[in-house]
Symmetry: C2
Subunit: 257 residues, 2 copies
């Protein structure tokens, strides 16, 4: 029996073992706090400390009035290198729709746009001075009615005006095509991938539970001469993952058929 130095850690270790060994499978209800109090002879606070530890590890979710449950992690795959292919030149929104359908989900999106001063993280990448006004186009993506991720794209004002992106509605042919049609053809991009715990704001808009980090994929796209946009996708890690396919993968793709 795993027993750490302190009572609540020892209890957490034992419950964690019962979960990781599969004795308590995903979706299953854990013993109630009262039952754990009896089982381990500890006070309620101590039991709750143990459960909080497991919750912060993303192993369980507790629901008021219902109990604690073993959490399931199953993810939608975002193919980061596929949207750019010539044979599938859809907008990134369409790429999301396609992948969601393939995975058996019913996707939907909601759109909003605003003009705001660029913070340094965006300004640096767009090569404009800080606080220059830029266009932010936001798409919140849903799967079967549940929030899946949030996509924020920032465009330099001049480019947005020329390509007609400074409008408060979605663009059917996709923003990338709209820009290309005006001569801003993207030829490369830099993806920065990080992870962090959700801010209270994320927790609301993305419906992220305690113990689940968010993955942040931030893409800076370039034409042959200048950056065109920064697109940041923020996605809860319990239901999303990113895939990059690099080089020659003919052999791999043959196995996927």
């Amino acid at each position: 029996m795993a027993r750490a130095g302190t009572l609540y850690r020892g209890i957490a270790d034992q419950v964690r073992n019962r979960i990781t060994t599969g004795e308590i499978p995903p979706g299953t209800k854990l013993p109630t706090e009262s039952q754990l109090i009896d089982q381990y002879g500890a006070s309620r606070n101590t039991i709750r400390l143990a459960l909080a530890e497991l919750e912060n590890e993303g192993l369980i979710a507790t629901e008021q009035g219902r109990g604690s449950f073993v959490r399931e992690w199953s993810s939608l795959t975002h193919h980061a290198t596929r949207a750019e292919r010539v044979d599938r030149p859809a907008s990134s929104t369409d790429a999301f729709v396609a992948e969601a359908r393939e995975a058996g989900f019913e996707p939907s999106t909601s759109f909003s746009m605003r003009i705001e001063p660029a913070v340094s993280e965006i300004a640096d990448r767009l090569q404009v001075p800080v606080d220059t006004f830029v266009v932010l186009r936001r798409v919140v993506r849903y799967l079967d009615g549940q929030v899946n991720s949030r996509q924020d794209s920032w465009y330099p004002m001049d480019l947005a005006e020329q390509a007609g992106l400074n409008v408060p509605h979605d663009i059917k042919e996709g923003t990338i095509r709209a820009m290309a049609a005006k001569g801003f053809k993207e030829v490369g991009n830099i993806d920065e991938v990080t992870a962090r715990m959700p801010s209270p704001d994320d927790q609301e808009t993305l419906d992220v539970a305690t113990g689940v980090p968010v993955i942040v994929q931030q893409r800076t796209a370039w034409t042959a001469t200048r950056p065109t946009r920064v697109t940041r996708v923020t996605m809860p890690a319990d239901r999303n993952r990113i895939i990059y396919e690099l080089g020659n993968l003919d052999a791999y793709e043959a196995t996927q058929q």
Copy 2:
């Protein structure tokens, strides 16, 4: 003043604001629990609930006997698409060393190797049956003496034997070159990027604090006909990020000089 429905959330909101606005900058000590008890007129348990929330968001770190401190997030950049270039064909370990030096750190590594039965996640990607024995080569990477990340690589047994990878020491020319020399030349790879909270095991080997997720980058490399390895890099998100450079980025690179 941000005030949520409950006392401890309201306190957490106010302290969070003081941090995000820069009033309490990174590295600074927060007020002590006693001081917060006085300031907010709440019990110690309530104050600790508020601090625990901030700790789980990765905003602060508490140290017994010292106090709570605003956490800093500064990261080493892993260039995922650079190691594969012909002009820099170093091993992935060397890529780490190079990037660490560029960032002004003193890198070091420790190596271990073992032979173990493949779990399904590895077996599937190496296209061998589950529980087939495979070679695991582990490199723990340090920056200035502190753990930075852990790299685990699994190789099919036949390939490991031919390329001489089933030895308990590092390989100077790099495992990728050693395989290429025996005819297993990698031509492509699939990178799967996910994030999760560290397991107790991770917390020990990677020295990850509460509230900091780990980024997991898992690369399956292929020759023209078969997979050669699965390489999984597990890195704390507070000191690492990944960058993918895709397509033509001449214009971007010109700005980097």
